[in-house]
Symmetry: C2
């Protein structure tokens, strides 16, 4: 029962963006350096987050990514959901994964459907976890980081004007 690094990196990266937010879009290069995440891998993750509507992007010089919503309207749940695809701890609830050949949706999950006590457990546990994650917004994290005394890095793109 592990959270994939996609979720962990995703949350770290989004937090980093919120924490260091400036007037210009944030670039993969900088985020990956600060958070020690492989830039190539981060690109993939950001594509998922963009598809989920959490990020906007701008190409070209001075381009980069920016949060699609204010920091207090993006929760950890949103990010994990986008990165993980879903929050269910178990997929005996929602149908088996489709087979490569037939492309059939493969309806009835497990044969104990609705006659299984454990099904309820996993569903409730997933919901509890989701509820907790939804109470944590990027803004919350930023406030916590400030309390912890995490220093912000200056945007090197402003250095020229000093």
């Amino acid at each position: 029962m592990k959270l994939s690094t996609k979720s962990r990196y995703g949350v770290r990266a989004m937090f980093d963006m919120a924490y260091h937010a400036g007037t210009l879009p944030a670039q993969i290069k900088d985020i990956s350096r600060r958070q020690q995440i492989s830039p190539r891998y981060l690109e993939q993750i950001f594509q998922d987050l963009k598809k989920a509507g959490l990020l906007n992007s701008r190409r070209g010089p001075q381009g980069g990514y920016s949060l699609a919503r204010p920091a207090d309207e993006i929760t950890v749940k949103d990010i994990v959901l986008a990165a993980e695809g879903e929050l269910e701890l178990v997929n005996c609830v929602k149908g088996l994964r489709k087979t490569k050949d037939t492309d059939e949706e493969a309806g009835a999950a497990c044969q104990f459907d609705n006659r299984c006590v454990t099904q309820h457990i996993w569903r409730d546990a997933s919901r509890i976890l989701g509820d907790y994650f939804s109470t944590l917004s990027l803004k919350t994290l930023c406030e916590q980081a400030k309390e912890m005394g995490l220093e912000k890095e200056l945007d090197h793109r402003f250095m020229y004007f000093i």
Copy 2:
């Protein structure tokens, strides 16, 4: 973020034992048939559960497994913990896994240790999940199953006496 089948099967099997508990030890054969779990695989899982002190076993004819404690003193948390090895959603907390060659324990987990907001999130989430699981005992599950009207299977070893 998925629970491994080991946990799911483990909980199902332990519930099955509690629900169908008789005077004789329960056998892999019967449990695997009722719960539709590969008997070979279930053996492995039961070894883990036995090592964790949740099961007793007896070899030979009329042998099998029995719960090591009363059903209301075994929680889902115990089982998941035994099957999964741990409950942490993430291992940036407790040190990286050891390398095959050096066998070193590899201390300092991630370089952001204690300077990372997200670390707190995962640790708290793991704890929340564990707390929920610890409220669910096998006895609880049996009561729920009874309410749901799940029929119990008769022990075929008693059939001769009818």
